[in-house]
Point group: C2
Chain length 717, copies 2
């Protein structure tokens, strides 16, 4: 039993008693209420105690990171968050302080779209914020007394908001400790409640130890036994190939070799992003290192100490990545950072009892032992003795954070996760000495920009398996999102899915050949192409818009897609779907998407059994020429299918080129008349024209509601 | 019996036997087929015979009117019309000659939107057109033999198209005779079939004779006993006050006084339009007059003769109007042209048997006697001896042509009447010597631009009753038409009328006061204002758009409106409605429309029992300010009603002014949240928000389908 091993070496010694995160699916309501109350008070207290590490009020207004707010913001922010979320959830009717609440709500970190121009801020006094915090404390305590509480607490329940506020403050407890660590030492003081670990020793040799392959399952069900953030729910399953992992986190000692080998000055080890950051910062060593008189020193949260060589190095992802690239070159091995799944494979293989069920933390975590890192070999896990599988410092992974299948945004905090699903926020795993509450859970998923600092380091792995670096970010292009919803999303006003309805309407009227080939012209984001692929051996799918085609290809590649659609004004909703849930996945690879101009097709697009031109002709600049040329690309006996609402507009088609909707020799010529006149020589009209309605959602309340006409033409033999 | 009187003076003497227009609700089908066949042949023959008055082929290519096509166009046009209409009605599958048919289809007269640039035309040879006409003759004869014929012939029947082609040619028979009359004499020859009347005598004294007031009923029912144009159908009833009418049409003699008094050179007698025309043409006398060596001569269709002083003067409306103004000034009497109804009142009082039931034409009409005018006292009608109540020359009226209630466009000829419903085409009544077929009917309604020449003169009347010169033209402004359809037109997708639904949804929730006052803000074309007027004693209705307000005022003034809505491309549909058919007419005068800015209302818009802001707030530039200021204009205990789909767009409202659909302090704020926050201090929310859907038609196939939210707020007492 590995857990026993560390008990021999270190005693839980922190003066702050950090309570475990509450179990919310068991117990008795009034006891749970008391437990949550204590949990809140403890969190609130601990957060305020952290700020006692600032030497004076002046320190609250300094900015250790130029792109982030001063600490006064964060001191108020966790209280403001309670008020704002209680308001959003309509649990309270009045706010407490307009000024503080509008100033301290957003701008948590660099990733925010907030304007950090100092001129915009006239920060309140610390005492003022303290008075505000006191008011909020009373408010929350009162809410905890009064809000209805039933177990389990679901994520729509009022108490979820209380737990959210607590967990939110625990995140800031850790991130604020990092900001304090980044402050000039003269503004910080040592504090008995926040002692660093006193010892160091020679760094242990690091070895690559084998980790067996296997399946990693992620994704919580609701309601679970503890509070969770939205990005933890859903379903995800990853098959991990066997790999080797470094026994210990990379120590300061180990990292020194990279520095001494000129690693910070050698662009070859760095990603483009990494090199940009390094150059901008002129970084030559880890941010919490400093060199004086040829000696290396180390910055803890509140002190400078001689370099503790056996402690893990604190770096951002970019530095960790550069180190791995350097090490891979030096060793000739495929060294890299683990993915999230690889980390979890190691975790599942080595960590026994899982928080919050353990009695004593099996690692340097949960503020249980000290307010700093400890030697990397102090806490080990599993038979092979892996150090710090959890705790000490967070471990950077190769994985950019993303939602699982079935991801849903929590309605009261819709920008917690979604803005980070951009391929630019990498997951950190395992927690640090400062991680408490939800942060300690196996299922927790925190991600930061790759150049950000946390109490974070890394473990490297050796694997022949390459990481797919392509990230499937969520679609924010309004038109693309509109079309994704149109092709794959909900039905509105009871109108069935249009591309599917079109293909369904065609099939009964055509003779399907074996190995038949179809061409989907104006395929947009591809739904009709996939529907055609149910019946046709090969489908070429073309659109004039590369934006559409890029998205369709992306969809085949990833099998799923996420997109934001407008609800009202700038309020949006994240939606997603997968080809498999629409039963389109099996034959998606039979569809070949490409950019193309329907009026000027390449020669290779020929010999089709069916050409589907869905809502295309009234957007072509030469529709008549299109009709003439397309018939040459259809096999004798093949079909041309046209749908259109015949919305002729001069912005797309010069009036003289409109097929119909015109006066010819003074007489009205409808587009249907014109289609019949144009196609009659070469085609027979297979059946009467059919009306197929469609709805395109613009906002939750506004839609385009259109009725296309579908005609089917069979080319003469 | 007046009819007998003229028989003593003139014998029907024309060599051309023009058949009466066929009765289509009686008879035996095979006989009717033969009758129509003869009628067609006679019309076709007569038309060709008219062109024999041209001296040579060269004459076909000259343009007697610079803004109109040469006669070769008209020679072909009546044949082309048969082919095109048979094609449109899908009675024939193939056309005969693409080139002729596309060149000769449109550009009939100046009012057409065709391009008269000569460079666009490479006219065919006369022989070519003749050959074409021969082919068409065969085609039509064949169609007459083969098309199904049942009696009565309805306007959707195939034979209606045949009759339409015949009547169309009869119109051009007359208008082409005018063009020939306008040609230089050297290109025209006398023709035995087209003799002018040989005699003249001293012009009779003209007197004003009384005509009793009464009701004039117009509007044919379908199917009738003869072919009719679309503008003849529907319902119209006019109460005509007693007036006096000149016994005779104004003779050349009588008109000479105006010329000799300097009438053509004195702007005071002319309308603005008339003076513009006179100046442009430098007209100093009627167009068919010419002066040589101090002598006045007169142009008939094919000859110049010494001035026949007892014949009616041929003038356009502008000249007739100037004469009346001059005569009114000279006599001190309210002299003017009659309206269409006044003309018909005279007609009904004096004309006995009505065409086509008469045996012999009671006037110089139907090509029965001669191919020119005759003295104005040759044919008299009624006990008082009114001359030329019908026949001789057409009589200009003050009335611009318009459709009757229930007007419907004939689907095969949708631009026969609608383009003339523009307030710029005045009706001419009574027919001329060249009028045949439908033109001779009491119910016929032909109208021309006011500066056009026909075989037309005038009779003046004396009446204290002023003519309402305001013409209710049809709306072509696309946005206005869209809103007229939205407010008053058809329902789409089963969604009930939105403004009505809103007011209906409010009424159950409010306490209605006696003599209550309502304000409709953003009233657009006014439907909600009229609906409010059902319940409120006074309604002020404001919109920022003067286009909308102008239209709403117009609607109250006229009680009805016509508008064009798009079907597909440039194909449109004329729609109309009246306030009375929507049962909105009774209280329409309780609505006061005015242009106004909801964000900056004049002081007088105050003390309302209810303010309705329908789909307004998301189009305001200062919605928050609006909410603040509007509450001051509502009485204590009064109501504010807001509907909106909350479609916030930066083009209307700067983002910082959006009420909702925004992130405030990082939290989503919906517009409903914001409304509640803004209005709560002053108002109570009367009931839960209601969803009210609406559909705005863009084309026959494309619509906006939106769901507004309706909230009702009661101001604190």
């Amino acid at each position: 039993m590995t857990q026993s091993s560390h008990h021999r070496r270190i005693q839980a010694s922190m003066p702050l008693k950090i309570t475990h995160t509450p179990i919310i699916d068991q117990g008795v309501a009034h006891q749970k209420r008391a437990e949550i109350k204590a949990h809140f008070s403890n969190t609130y207290d601990t957060y305020e105690r952290l700020f006692e590490c600032l030497k004076d009020d002046e320190a609250y207004y300094l900015k250790p990171e130029p792109l982030r707010h001063p600490l006064i913001f964060y001191y108020a922010h966790t209280a403001v968050f309670f008020v704002n979320k209680l308001r959003v959830a309509m649990l309270i009717e009045h706010n407490i302080d307009d000024r503080i609440e509008s100033m301290m709500a957003i701008g948590v970190d660099e990733m925010s779209w907030d304007d950090l121009n100092d001129a915009n801020y006239d920060w309140p006094a610390v005492a003022e914020v303290q008075a505000y915090r006191d008011q909020v404390r009373e408010l929350v305590l009162q809410q905890i007394d009064e809000l209805p509480l039933t177990l389990p607490v679901g994520w729509e329940d009022p108490f979820w908001i209380i737990l959210m506020g607590i967990e939110h403050e625990r995140i800031h407890l850790e991130t604020s400790s990092v900001l304090i660590r980044q402050m000039d030492l003269k503004h910080v003081r040592s504090h008995q409640d926040w002692p660093h670990y006193p010892d160091d020793h020679d760094a242990p040799d690091n070895h690559l130890l084998p980790v067996a392959g296997g399946t990693v399952v992620q994704g919580r069900e609701r309601p679970g036994s503890t509070y969770g953030w939205d990005n933890e729910y859903g379903h995800n399953q990853t098959i991990v190939k066997e790999f080797k992992a470094s026994q210990f986190l990379v120590t300061n000692q180990e990292f020194l070799s990279f520095i001494e080998d000129g690693g910070y000055l050698d662009q070859q080890w760095w990603t483009t992003e990494g090199w940009q950051w390094r150059t901008y910062k002129n970084a030559e060593h880890p941010t919490f290192w400093l060199q004086r008189n040829g000696q290396w020193y180390y910055r803890t949260m509140t002190e400078e100490i001689t370099m503790p060589w056996s402690w893990p190095v604190d770096v951002n992802y970019l530095e960790a990545k550069a180190y791995c690239n350097w090490l891979a070159a030096r060793t000739g091995k495929p060294i890299r950072l683990p993915t999230e799944a690889e980390y979890l494979r190691l975790y599942d293989a080595t960590v026994g009892a899982v928080y919050p069920e353990w009695d004593h933390p099996p690692g340097n975590i949960d503020l249980a032992y000290t307010a700093s890192s400890v030697p990397v070999d102090l806490f080990t896990f599993g038979a092979q003795g892996f150090g710090d599988v959890l705790g000490n410092v967070w471990q950077w992974t190769e994985s950019a954070i993303d939602g699982f299948d079935g991801f849903e945004v929590h309605p009261s905090y819709d920008d917690f996760s979604v803005p980070t699903f951009d391929g630019k926020h990498n997951l950190i795993k395992g927690g640090s000495w400062a991680s408490t509450g939800n942060e300690v859970l196996r299922d927790a998923r925190y991600a930061f920009r790759r150049h950000f600092f946390q109490h974070a380091g890394f473990r490297y792995i050796e694997s022949e398996h390459q990481v797919n670096q392509k990230f499937n970010t969520y679609e924010t292009d309004e038109l693309i999102s509109q079309y994704l919803e149109f092709h794959y999303g909900d039905e509105y006003f009871g109108v069935p899915n249009f591309p599917k309805a079109c293909i369904d309407a065609i099939i009964p009227h055509i003779d399907l050949q074996n190995n038949a080939r179809a061409l989907d012209l104006g395929c947009a984001v591809g739904r009709s192409s996939f529907e055609l692929a149910r019946y046709f051996q090969h489908v070429d799918a073309l659109d004039f818009s590369t934006r559409f085609i890029r998205n369709a290809i992306n969809l085949v590649e990833h099998g799923d897609v996420k997109y934001l659609i407008p609800i009202e004004g700038e309020i949006t909703e994240l939606k997603s779907f997968s080809l498999s849930e629409l039963e389109l996945g099996d034959r998606a690879n039979n569809v070949e998407f490409a950019q193309g101009d329907a009026c000027n097709l390449k020669d290779k697009f020929s010999d089709y059994d069916l050409v589907f031109a869905g809502n295309l002709i009234d957007r072509l600049y030469q529709p008549r020429q299109f009709l003439q040329s397309i018939s040459e690309r259809i096999k004798p006996g093949g079909y041309l299918v046209i749908t259109s609402p015949y919305t002729w507009l001069e912005e797309f088609t010069e009036k003289e080129n409109w097929l119909g909707g015109t006066k010819v020799n003074g007489e009205n010529v409808t587009t249907l008349d014109a289609l019949r006149a144009e196609l009659k020589p070469g085609f027979a009209e297979v059946t009467l024209p059919q009306d197929v309605p469609f709805v395109i959602r613009e906002t939750a309340r506004k839609h385009q509601h259109t009725v296309a006409q579908l005609t089917i033409w069979k080319k003469h033999q």
